[in-house]
């Protein structure tokens, strides 16, 4: 045992470190530290928000003050001092919102180049890169650039930072914001509603298939800063959009808070595909530093035959608390959840989904794969529920956990609540370790142990990765290997 632990440590010492851990040295403007009504007003004023939104924020803030942080998850969350953090931080250069990519601060462009996020529309349009993805990049508290806006506008798709949408499309924002996740929903949603800074807004009009993938890239850069973004996607009848989300943060010894809210609304025959590759800084081998990722994501499948599909690859964050959910209101509406969660070192994750069946013949499918390594702890927590009205509701759930090493934990807590007789729910779950036979087979053919493990794990998560858009799938596959580095002994 001792020898094994030693090997693990040796290997982890050699392993590649978190490669997005650099800091961009850029002049920023921050709100004073701490949280108060004044800060809420400050943020609102910075964004030139209308009166109703300020009121909405203040209502949420006052509500939050009386709430207690949830403690039901299998997470060990150190007490968070909400006064010891900045709630607004923005690069100075972003003060006057850049009109085109050419106006964006070169230091920021450089940052995103380093992160592998292409912001150069010309190259893509000129065919240097094959597929185009429109990107909205959020740096700390503001969106610094959104690409391909003109091209999207031609198709009638609105894709812009939510702060801009508040100015340009106030009716839409006011109608839908908080309609899926009200500020009263939970502690972190209330906090987000009070202090949210930026995020993306997507509106796809009736009958439009969005001509390209939309993507938002979140980066926390400033020290001691929380990121509270809010994303709202509304897809009208018979429209379709695929949206990707990525995130990274510098390597720091302090923990940083990320509390986002994502709301999706799908109308009749609409479809939303939402993919996330979450790679916030996970902290070091001893669990120092890392992002606290407390996120509320929910979709309302409002129209008949609407469909929402969540795909997530969760590899980062010191602590993850996240349950992307679907409320299936429409007849024959569909919800899907595909998840890969990997925890290593001292990471903790409590993640899963909720599928709430209200509409007749609504269907849902959950495939969740959890991999725990090192001394990490991971929990799948899910709810599948049918109300009395959800005649013919159908769910299939498969959740599998893989354990690597004998010092980690893997837990499964599915809640299955059937409310009418024509409901058909099936759930299966397994927990096991990587089989020695498989490892031996690969090693015998000349792979080293880490390669072999990455191959086996990639096989284990294949069902989920294949749901990702292609370029993300390749990235995710590499990410799986990197996340597991140092986990074999």
């Amino acid at each position: 045992m001792a020898a094994e632990a030693e090997t693990i440590e040796k290997v982890s010492a050699l392993a590649e470190k978190y490669k997005y851990g650099f800091v961009t040295d850029i002049e920023t403007e921050s709100a004073p530290k701490g949280l108060s009504e004044d800060i809420v007003r400050f943020i609102s004023a910075k964004k030139n928000e209308p009166e109703w939104l300020l009121e909405w924020r203040l209502k949420a803030y006052r509500y939050w003050l009386d709430m207690e942080a949830p403690d039901w998850a299998k997470l060990n969350i150190p007490p968070i001092d909400y006064q010891d953090s900045y709630y607004y931080s923005a690069p100075k250069s972003a003060e006057s919102r850049p009109e085109t990519i050419d106006d964006v601060d070169p230091a920021l462009i450089e940052t995103y180049n380093k992160l592998g996020i292409p912001l150069h529309e010309q190259e893509m349009l000129a065919g240097v890169q094959k597929r185009s993805v429109a990107v909205d990049v959020v740096f700390d508290s503001v969106s610094v650039a959104t690409t391909f806006r003109d091209k999207l506008a031609e198709a009638g798709v609105i894709f812009m930072p939510i702060s801009e949408a508040v100015e340009k499309h106030p009716a839409l924002v006011q109608k839908y914001m908080g309609s899926v996740v009200p500020h009263t929903d939970n502690y972190f949603a209330a906090l987000n509603s009070a202090v949210f800074t930026d995020g993306s807004f997507v509106y796809v009009p009736e009958g439009v298939t969005c001509p390209m993938e939309l993507s938002t890239y979140f980066r926390i850069n400033a020290e001691n800063t929380g990121q509270f973004e809010r994303t709202l996607i509304v897809v009208e009848d018979r429209a379709y959009v695929s949206y990707l989300e990525g995130c990274t943060a510098p390597q720091r010894d302090e923990n940083q808070l990320h509390a986002a809210v994502v709301e999706l609304v799908a109308m009749e025959d609409a479809e939303i595909k939402y993919s996330t590759v979450q790679n916030w800084y996970p902290g070091d081998e001893d669990g120092k530093g890392g992002i606290y990722n407390f996120v509320t994501k929910r979709a309302k499948c409002q129209g008949a035959r609407s469909k929402v599909s969540w795909t997530q690859v969760e590899t980062g964050s010191a602590i993850t608390w996240k349950y992307p959910s679907c409320v299936l209101l429409g007849e024959e509406s569909q919800g899907e959840f595909y998840s890969v969660a990997i925890t290593n070192n001292l990471q903790q994750a409590d993640t899963g989904t909720k599928m709430i069946h209200v509409g007749k013949n609504s269907r849902s499918r959950i495939i969740a794969k959890g991999i725990s390594a090192g001394r990490s702890d991971q929990t799948y927590r899910g709810l599948v529920k049918s109300t009395r009205t959800a005649k013919g509701a159908r769910n299939f759930t498969q959740c599998d956990s893989l354990l690597i090493g004998d010092r980690c934990g893997a837990h499964t807590v599915p809640y299955i609540e059937a409310g009418n007789a024509s409901t058909m729910f099936e759930h299966e779950a397994t927990t096991s370790k990587v089989s020695d036979e498989q490892l031996f087979y690969c090693r015998q053919r000349g792979m080293d142990e880490e390669e072999a493990l990455a191959l086996i794990v990639n096989g284990f998560v294949k069902d989920v990765l294949q749901e990702l858009p292609m370029e993300f799938a390749v990235e995710a596959q590499k990410l799986v290997a990197i996340s597991l580095e140092g986990s074999v002994g």
Binding site: W72, K74, R388, K391, S401, L403, I404, G405, D406, R407, C408, G409, A410, H411, T412, V413, P414, Y415, I416, E417, A418, G419, N420, A421, S422, T423, M424, F425, E426, H427, E428, A429, T430, T431, S432, K433
Partner: protein
């Protein structure tokens, strides 16, 4: 302290003079009974039970063979939830059943219950199985209207011992039954419990098993048949505390009318408990749109060399199977009865149930609305 859940119930209990042990009573009086915000009680509400005015009474034991059950002196202090505290506060005496080392007992039958309406019976029971001993214990927990039976049973099974327990929690109209069993298993020992719960206003049966030594096995299973507004909460909690231990849980639930059935199944594997196998399968059959079936498996695993699985299904009667039988001349009512019984009985086919329980199950299914017992006479 008026907002303590069940305060008035406890005050009434106190005024009857039934409280013998002040310490657990005070703890209970301070903390109250668990409400639905307590995770383990999220599906079961004791409000109706706590509104009752009940008269404390002793446990009555009817046994077929005399002399096997002795009185068990009540314990004074307990760790456990509010219902164990209630039991300890009243100092409910229960039975003591000891199987000497190496003994092989024929199946032992016993019936427990209050004979009076509105009785509150608390009992603390103890079962010990000596090394290499084998025993089959068939218990029937009966009740009359609006009584509440509440018990804690601790079981110790020594090395190589094997206890099979079949517990029939009987239909008693508006009665409540809350029973908890805490089993500790020694090396290579085995505990198999099958709980059959029928009827009753509220049944909450908890089976806790600690697998403390290598080679032991716990099987915690249940058949749950509920109708009208009956409510059943079956809770298991297996803790694999030693390596090379196995567990198995099979739960079959049938709910009709406005009944509610819950299965909360726990499998915990402690750190360093390697080479573990833990299986769980719960299936629920829902026969009415106003019935509810809740399933909450919970796996908590801290060792890596494990094979744990759980499965859960919820659904209606299989139309194809029904059609198959009808096509072969079985009328619908009989076909339904046969399917319900087969569904409930299937995982336990290998277990020879005592005739009394077999009969009970049959007649319970045959009382079901829309089914009939005629298949018994048919040559299938």
């Amino acid at each position: 302290m008026t907002d303590v859940f069940g305060a008035e119930f406890l005050d009434r209990l106190h005024s009857t003079g039934a409280v013998k042990n002040p310490a657990p009573f005070e703890t209970l009086r301070t903390n109250g009974f668990p409400n639905r915000r307590v995770e383990a009680w999220r599906y079961t509400d004791l409000a109706g039970q706590l509104a009752q005015t009940l008269t404390p009474a002793g446990l009555r034991i009817n046994q077929e063979q005399s002399g096997l059950f002795g009185p068990n002196p009540a314990v004074e202090s307990v760790e456990g939830d509010a219902l164990s505290l209630l039991n300890a506060a009243v100092g409910g005496e229960g039975f003591l059943f000891e199987v000497p080392e190496g003994a092989r007992l024929k199946p032992v039958f016993a019936r427990f219950g209050p004979m009076d309406s509105n009785a509150l019976v608390n009992a603390t029971n103890r079962i010990t199985v000596g090394a290499g001993a084998e025993a089959v214990l068939v218990e029937r927990w009966g009740q009359t209207d609006e009584s509440w039976m509440n018990s804690d049973t601790t079981i110790d099974i020594a090395e190589g011992g094997h206890l099979r327990r079949i517990i029939l929690v009987e239909d008693g109209g508006a009665g409540t039954q809350t029973h908890r069993t805490f089993t500790t298993l020694g090396e290579n020992s085995r505990y198999d419990a099958l709980v059959v719960t029928l009827g009753g206003a509220l049944h909450r049966i908890e089976q806790h098993a600690d697998l403390t030594r290598p080679g032991c096995h716990a099987g915690l299973s249940a058949i749950v048949l509920k109708r009208a507004q009956e409510h059943s909460d079956f809770v298991t909690n297996v803790r694999h505390l030693a390596e090379d231990t196995t567990s198995d849980q099979q739960v079959r639930t049938v709910v009709d009318d406005q009944a509610t059935a819950i299965f909360q199944g726990g499998i915990k594997v402690a750190k360093d408990s390697q080479r573990i196998e833990g299986d769980q399968l719960s299936r629920a059959l829902m026969l009415s749109d106003r019935a509810q079936a809740f399933t909450k498996p919970e796996l908590e695993i801290f060792a890596d060399d494990v094979k744990c699985s759980h499965g859960a299904t919820v659904g209606d009667l299989d139309e194809d199977a029904l059609f198959y039988m009808r096509a072969r001349g079985v009328d619908e009512a009989a076909a339904r009865a046969l399917l319900i019984l087969a569904f409930a009985r299937e995982p336990f086919e290998a277990i020879e149930l005592p005739e009394a329980i077999e009969t009970m199950l049959d007649s319970k299914v045959q009382e079901w609305p829309g089914v009939s017992g005629r298949f018994e006479e048919m040559d299938l």
